[in-house]
Amino acid sequence: MKVTVDQDKCVASGQCVVAAMEVFDQREEDGIVVLLNAEPPAEQADDIRHAAAVCPAVAIEVRD
């Protein structure tokens, strides 16, 4: 699974961090998304898909 994030679109809602803390974090200065792992293991797939689904800015893309 490959994950990408778009920091320009991100509105710092933190929804992805709540959904998958191993994969997403937020920048200290403005809460914008930071990708911790662009190729996470399969067992995190559900959480990551959920993060992409609830991201209000549609800033997370997931490819298999």
Partner: protein, 409 residues
């Protein structure tokens, strides 16, 4: 000239009034007419207080698509924007909630850091203490008591005051003015005066924070003013937005949520008997979905023609996204009218969707998790002291809730 009626005019003439009324005896369910619209089709026309007839979108998927669409504007000063109430005389300055990108993003990003998940988690012990202290006071005070005044309002007010750096001793002043601003039935003059009061108050505070900055959100904005990144009136407007949005909404979720749990004793028992943080978090999401307190719809205007569900929304036409009925969309939530604290409700749109999705949601979630996991455990016999039909609901507010909730234990 022909005498045939333009079908568009006819549709407008038949447009029902919005907001619609809830059914008597069903204070937790959206208006039945909204459900009818959702079943009839994706888009309908509705009539507002000023006679305008914007589009109403009722389905979950369409609402998310529209709220995330850059051709959809939240700018209240654009012609066609479906206003909740008449424009106050002289207009009012608005903060980023009613602006579009890039202005919206520029301002929002100045205040996102304190709402990051880790920062909010670090506030949890402090919020727990606030909640515990208020419950101590409640138990030592009169019984029965109004839960709104004694608990639901003080919790988020104390929290937002601490975060912003606003003296809590001024709470009567800012709560009274907030109430006027979010009431749908006050005159534009009254709303304008209340807004002016808050703006002047925040401007004074900004002056103080510029002179003597401390470690709080408003001092952070003061620093940006000094650095030339932010105008002082922009800072004051942002302060007003955060102060109002930060306490009224959460307070309504606490009081209305408690009443909904009284009416669903099996669900209340679940919360009373658990210390599982996952169940508590899930309960918060479900209550947000089920109660959907921001019941006046997200308001927007199209800046280009947008095709949706076989209809075309024309550039300049107003749009109302009724998130309350989207949270009851049976295509997304099975048995949507059932309150089920164990369901996975995380996809709800109680905080909106798109770039304007609630900035304060991590804080609101944490506060509600602390409240719902503490109040009923510490006062296991807590119950309503009034019949449901005697409780005054905020049908006239842009945020739904109860004005009063007499409780006993």
């Amino acid at each position: 000239m022909t005498s045939t009626v333009n079908p568009l005019d006819e549709r407008d003439a038949k447009a029902p009034e919005y907001p619609m009324a809830r059914a008597a005896g069903c204070p937790f369910d959206p208006p039945p007419a909204l459900r009818d619209k959702q079943q009839e089709g994706p888009l309908a026309r509705v009539r507002l207080w000023d006679g305008s007839t914007p589009w109403l979108a009722t389905r979950y998927a369409d609402q998310r698509a529209l709220l995330a669409d850059p051709r959809v504007s939240a700018d209240i000063n654009r012609p066609g924007y479906p206003r909740q109430a008449p424009m106050p005389p002289g207009g009012t300055g608005v903060s980023f909630i009613l602006k579009d990108d890039p202005e919206h993003a520029r301002l929002r990003r100045m205040v996102t850091a304190p709402f990051a998940i880790k920062r909010v988690e670090a506030m949890r012990p402090g919020v727990q203490k606030i909640v515990d202290d208020l419950i101590d006071e409640l138990l030592a005070g009169p019984n029965p008591v109004d839960l709104v005044e004694a608990f639901a309002l003080p919790v988020p007010s104390l929290v937002i005051c601490q975060l912003l750096g606003v003296p809590y001793s001024d709470h009567d002043f800012f709560q009274d003015n907030s109430k006027v601003i979010i009431n749908r039935n006050v005159t534009p003059e009254q709303r304008s005066v209340a807004h002016g009061n808050l703006l002047a108050y925040l401007d004074d505070l900004m002056g103080e924070k510029i002179a003597r900055p401390v470690d709080d959100l408003l001092s952070g904005l003061a620093g940006r003013i000094t650095a030339g990144e932010l105008a002082r009136d922009e800072a004051a407007q942002m302060g007003v937005l955060l102060l109002i949005a930060g306490h009224e909404t959460t307070a309504n979720m606490i009081a209305l949520g408690t009443l909904a749990l009284f009416e669903h004793p099996d669900q209340l028992a679940l919360l009373r008997d658990t210390d599982d943080p996952r169940l508590i978090a899930s309960a918060v999401e479900e209550l947000l979905r089920y109660l959907h307190i921001t019941h006046s719809g997200r308001r927007r205007v199209a800046t280009a023609d947008i095709e949706i569900g076989g209809e075309v929304i024309r550039a300049g036409e107003g749009l109302i996204l009724a998130n309350d009925i989207a949270n009851r969309d049976p295509d997304v939530f099975a048995e949507p009218d059932r309150l089920d604290l164990r369901r996975d409700a995380r996809r709800h749109v109680a905080f909106g969707f798109g770039v304007h999705q609630c900035l304060g949601q991590p804080l609101a979630r944490m506060e509600l998790q602390v409240v719902y996991s503490t109040l009923y455990r510490r006062i296991p016999t807590l119950r309503s002291a009034a019949e449901l039909d005697r409780i005054p609901f905020k049908h006239d507010g842009s945020v739904y809730g109860v004005y009063e909730l007499p409780v006993t234990w």
